[in-house]
Symmetry: C2
Subunit: 221 residues, 2 copies
């Protein structure tokens, strides 16, 4: 039996759910309030973070380690190209979003607005959110520039980079923070990836106390 | 011709230098003051960060993308095991240090103490450094616990996890922030990895304005 411990609004968990969906791997989803540091969960993952993927006796934490494992074990469909240079480009862009974008945008916007309330850790600071939204523009500009030249984010076919970026942006879109109209290539790309069947269950998850905007679940946004 | 743009005290750059050394790949090292955002450098890497690896017409940024590329192209010696489960464990621990440890310790200690001065970005805040040093203890305890059971960090042979962790700890050791005596298994492990020939050039790099402690370069510390 396969399981995934996750939190619905975490971009890292969304990414793994998309990968599992694309590779048609069935898992039992377990929503984990990781900030409550449940003893049984800490035993499974000493880092206390989600996602955690369990497959028989194997437990893997860290979304990147989980992805590489799934890619090596369940290679149909592949989410990395064969070409070594393109693989590097895919990983570069995935890591850009998981590391740089996460630090400069996700932590400043999503975590301030939502995580603080959910975890009962004080009030959002408007100057932090403001700086995050300013950074978001820089990243969207870069994406728009990439997507003007490429069909998908890393190359001309769908790869892990697309799922990583879509995970981060969809979490921000839940709280209305992406101005799609200003970035037409990004909007077209998001419209394509949003229409994939694997995206539907993610977009129908709701977080108590936070309602997504009307366009969030809409394919024509 | 192969090149590596790097900054001597960056753990991510140290990791790539160790990997290049282990795999016997010769590169021209170019020290990059990445915070100065040199126009020619931003053209090479839009993210403006180090390390950046250049091989003929290929340019890769992000230490994880560079590592996976080098591992796929230059597999002798391999720094990931063949076994899929052990590969996952190696990546989990590498990412733990690059992501969690970096955020909870490196940014709070090394960046406050050294980067702020070097980049002329204000004065170190003692409460940030203090919290980083407290977090360091948690991580060293975890490492000590792992190394009590394993010969190397991820399993019984030397892998990428060892080079990642050693890179982070060696950068902190430059500013005397690791209390080796308290964590005997970590100390024994560091002594083994520090004695590798690939570690020597890294430990002889000096940063103007900061002198490492006497034990830093010493195999018997």
């Amino acid at each position: 039996m396969k399981k995934l411990y996750h939190f619905s609004l975490s971009p890292f968990c969304r990414k793994i759910r998309l990968i599992l969906g694309e590779k048609k791997i069935d898992v039992e989803l377990i929503e984990e309030k990781f900030w409550e540091k449940r003893v049984q969960f800490i035993k499974i993952n000493h880092a206390g973070e989600v996602p955690v993927y369990v497959e028989n006796l194997l437990t893997i934490s860290d979304s990147n380690a989980i992805f590489e494992y799934l890619e090596e074990k369940y290679n149909d469909p592949p989410l990395l190209p064969d070409n070594l240079e393109l693989r590097a480009e895919c990983r570069r862009l995935s890591n850009w979003f998981d590391f740089k974008f996460h630090k400069e945008v996700t932590e400043r916007v999503l975590y301030e607005r939502v995580y603080k309330k959910v975890m009962k850790r004080g009030y959002p600071k408007s100057e932090i959110i403001k700086s995050g939204l300013k950074n978001l523009k820089f990243h969207l500009n870069y994406l728009n520039w990439l997507l003007e030249k490429r069909k998908w984010i890393a190359c001309d076919f769908l790869t892990i980079s697309d799922f990583t970026v879509a995970s981060h942006l969809s979490s921000l879109d839940y709280i209305s923070d992406v101005n799609w109209q200003e970035f037409s290539y990004v909007k077209d790309w998001y419209s394509k990836i949003k229409s994939r069947p694997t995206f539907r269950p993610i977009l129908s998850d709701l977080l108590a106390g936070f309602n997504p905007p009307e366009h969030y679940n809409d394919l024509d946004f």
